[in-house]
Symmetry: C2
């Protein structure tokens, strides 16, 4: 069973819900602004959100004028919250692993995913399935953990000075793709490390054209308010990518 | 004066010539194979080699059937060697900084550069000038130091165990683009760090389509013969990129 569902674990779910309720988390401060900066005009569009979680983004897409939003997630618990907190006449929530989108009918103008792809084992298979679900001139916009993050394979991640300030990241095994085990509320959360070139080449091989990439940093005013995010100057946490399925020439 | 010419410094030149004469250096073992793996068929092509040095690549291009190869370099000393060791009826060597290729007449089917772009201060300006010099459906193929390398800003690069084995890279300042000073035979060699996304986005903004990227590793048989290159599993030394100037649709 290659599809990991940590989200329906009670311990994980409660921990995750707590950080997402903190409005000043890293996602809200710089991952989501970067992701949304790459979105096309959503008016009249059909949108597929992979790993939609609580449906917060789905509601934003619907409110921005999307014609229809399909939010899928492997976690029934997450979707139960989504149905209560973020329902909308133009949104459908569906309990489906993103690895199974070849089972869906119909195509989309935009496929979006926030911080979920690093849990997927077979990235090439996923990207091919996304390409097949997109209309011509459709876009894929996704964020994931940065490859400099996902390469971590245990041990201390940072070297600190006597005051606990982070001096540098302890980078190892960057060139070794594959599974990494980590602890995130629960033990044995599996993530998959892929190098930068691997991510890019898989997208291109599937037929996508790379449109833009962002390694987001907090704006200066956020750095002043939250000096702990200065560590991101050493190492970005996230990678955000926009790719397009350009219409083939006749 | 933004165009750096370390190569005509006597100390640098002699040190550089010595490592390049060692046929088993990192360039020959995995940078050059990766670079050449991205080249199109060279028969009948016009080629511009930016930072051609001793002209070793230029001769290979000419021998592979290129119609004409223009090798440019900022270093007169390098070109003097090129004229002696790698002359060919289809090659012209010219003493010109790559930042000045807008002064050239005529266009090229292929622009290539090996390990020189990280010395260029204004990457965006260079890439725009390259785009302007390429024919429709022409390609740019280049290698440079890997962004995980170029970000280094002094201090120990590696943390080692008691036996001197490299445990991990000390990664810092990745997200801070700009000038880095380093020592390579001589003091104060200036390199310019750019993040992955910056390199990609500058290429795309200039009009290029990204075709493939490689973060080269030595093959297993080389790792067996030269175990010191196992460190590359922690951190690749080089980044190799192929980008295309696709003909605009009518």
């Amino acid at each position: 069973m290659s599809k990991q569902n940590i989200y329906d674990n009670d311990t994980f779910f409660e921990g995750y819900q707590a950080i997402r309720k903190n409005e000043r988390n890293a996602n809200n401060l710089f991952e989501i602004p970067a992701l949304f900066s790459l979105l096309p005009d959503l008016k009249g569009k059909t949108i597929l959100d992979l790993g939609c979680g609580f449906g917060v983004h789905c509601r934003k897409f619907a409110e921005a004028g999307a014609n229809h939003v399909l939010g899928i997630d492997i976690s029934e618990k997450m979707l139960a919250v989504a149905e209560i907190e973020n329902s909308h006449t133009n949104i459908t929530y569906l309990n489906l692993p993103m690895e199974d989108i070849d089972q869906l009918e119909g195509n989309f103008d935009l496929v979006i995913s926030s911080l979920a792809f690093h849990y997927v084992k077979d990235f090439s298979d996923l990207i091919t399935k996304i390409y097949d679900r997109l209309n011509d001139n459709g876009s894929l916009v996704f964020s994931q953990e940065h490859p400099i993050n996902t390469c971590h394979a245990g041990g201390d991640r940072w070297t600190r000075d006597a005051d606990g300030n982070r001096l540098h990241l302890n980078l190892a095994h960057y060139s070794v793709s594959g599974e990494r085990e980590s602890v995130w509320f629960v033990d044995n959360v599996k993530k998959y490390h892929r190098t930068f070139s691997e991510i890019i080449n898989i997208l291109i091989s599937a037929g996508f054209t790379i449109d833009k990439m962002i390694e987001p940093l907090p704006e200066n005013k956020i750095l002043e308010e939250y000096p702990e995010y200065r560590d991101l100057l050493h190492k970005p946490d996230f990678l955000v990518v926009k790719a397009q399925k350009l219409k083939k020439k006749d």
